[in-house]
Symmetry: none
Subunit: 232 residues, 2 copies
Amino acid sequence: MAGNSHKILLVDDEPDILEFLKYSLEKEKYSVTIADNGADAIKLALANIPDLILLDVMMPDMDGMETCTRMRERKELSNTIIAFLTARGEDYSQIAGFSAGADDYITKPIKPKVLISRIKALLRRNASPNDSATVLQANGSLKIDKERYIVIKKGKELSLPKKEFELLTLLVSKPGKVFTRDVILSEIWGHDIVVGNRTIDVHIRKLREKIGDDLIQTVKGVGYKFIGAEAA
Amino acid sequence: MAGNSHKILLVDDEPDILEFLKYSLEKEKYSVTIADNGADAIKLALANIPDLILLDVMMPDMDGMETCTRMRERKELSNTIIAFLTARGEDYSQIAGFSAGADDYITKPIKPKVLISRIKALLRRNASPNDSATVLQANGSLKIDKERYIVIKKGKELSLPKKEFELLTLLVSKPGKVFTRDVILSEIWGHDIVVGNRTIDVHIRKLREKIGDDLIQTVKGVGYKFIGAEAA
DNA sequence: CCTTGTCGTGAATGATGTGTTAAGGGAATC
DNA sequence: GATTCCCTTAACACATCATTCACGACAAGG
């Protein structure tokens, strides 16, 4: 991503604020989408995954808190930063906000300069883990290219289905580390979505079929781990 | 998972829900205590500190909110997770709930699967600081890597079965200290699960087979202890 | 010495978790 | 709207780990 073409979704029920912030952000070359209620915000967010969502807490119908919670339930938005906007004095909601999965908390009245600097910080913070790992190198024989969404094994390019790719990426992200089934479930399926307990096995099996049996090791009663080229 | 016998305190004034949830949780090997009112809940919580408290919001006399607040005033319960149970639609209480010090918020009707997955997520979140010592160093000749779930003896990597690994980890966690059989049982098997009295011996034996006889010492009539490289 | 209690040992049994296959539902794609 | 492909579930086989059991060794005390 070059510089500032980050996508920001702005959610507030007051048209004035909406317009004011939109103007401020666009002046900084951000790509801004707006919504004036939670439901629309979720739809828009899913339709075009933003990098950052600015969410007003006080809104009719679905408030910011709930909107945030629902967004966090969607795996697609797991890498998206969510920041709350709220009036000073609503301190209590701050705790709730973080608990609902927010990354930051910005109090009104909002000064454009502060907002911008805050946003830059937020985006920078999340930029590194996301981008740096565009290519995950496993052990020479295996590479994962997140950007192109393919796995390269001994020069051959494999294109894995989504779940398998995510599962492999998770395991490779920390070679040797054992990922318990619970962790795998909540990392890949999200903390509320529940699938049967044989599902992971099946994906593991498909992965082993494709990348070789010896790369993924079972630790019975615990979970799975990815094995690099370890001294046996 | 036997190491998973987390203690959960369940508080609700409706016997049906209480029983239903208790059943669901115990099926997952959690150690469940119940209370049907806030006052009892606090007493029980202090008597036997739980890892997680599930607290119904709507209760006669002392409601969930107040119970939570009072619990949070006790230092002993500062590490305990508190989650509210409430009917959907009581949105306002959600904010108040977090404000009272709750860690999560689960809406009725409760689906067991969702509840379990939520609980696991909550407990895991708090589990990390505990496991912070990813690598246990024993005495130079023995290392335990909890994350990778392996034991390294003189450079060789051994992968032990779960129970053996847990047992060794326990002993090594405090070299020289004698762990009585009772302590070992409740640490590894949980307070409720009961196994025969020869079981520990067998695991100890397997451990000695794998890591060497001299590292684990028997203290007859008392228990076992791990011996570092002590000058004999 | 004999008794008593504790631990070590090896083999047998039981329980649990995982591998595997196939089939159905659903979403995405054309 | 039809056809893929992917995700998930279910059922069963299988392996490994956990546990029990019976017995022998050993030490301490009577």
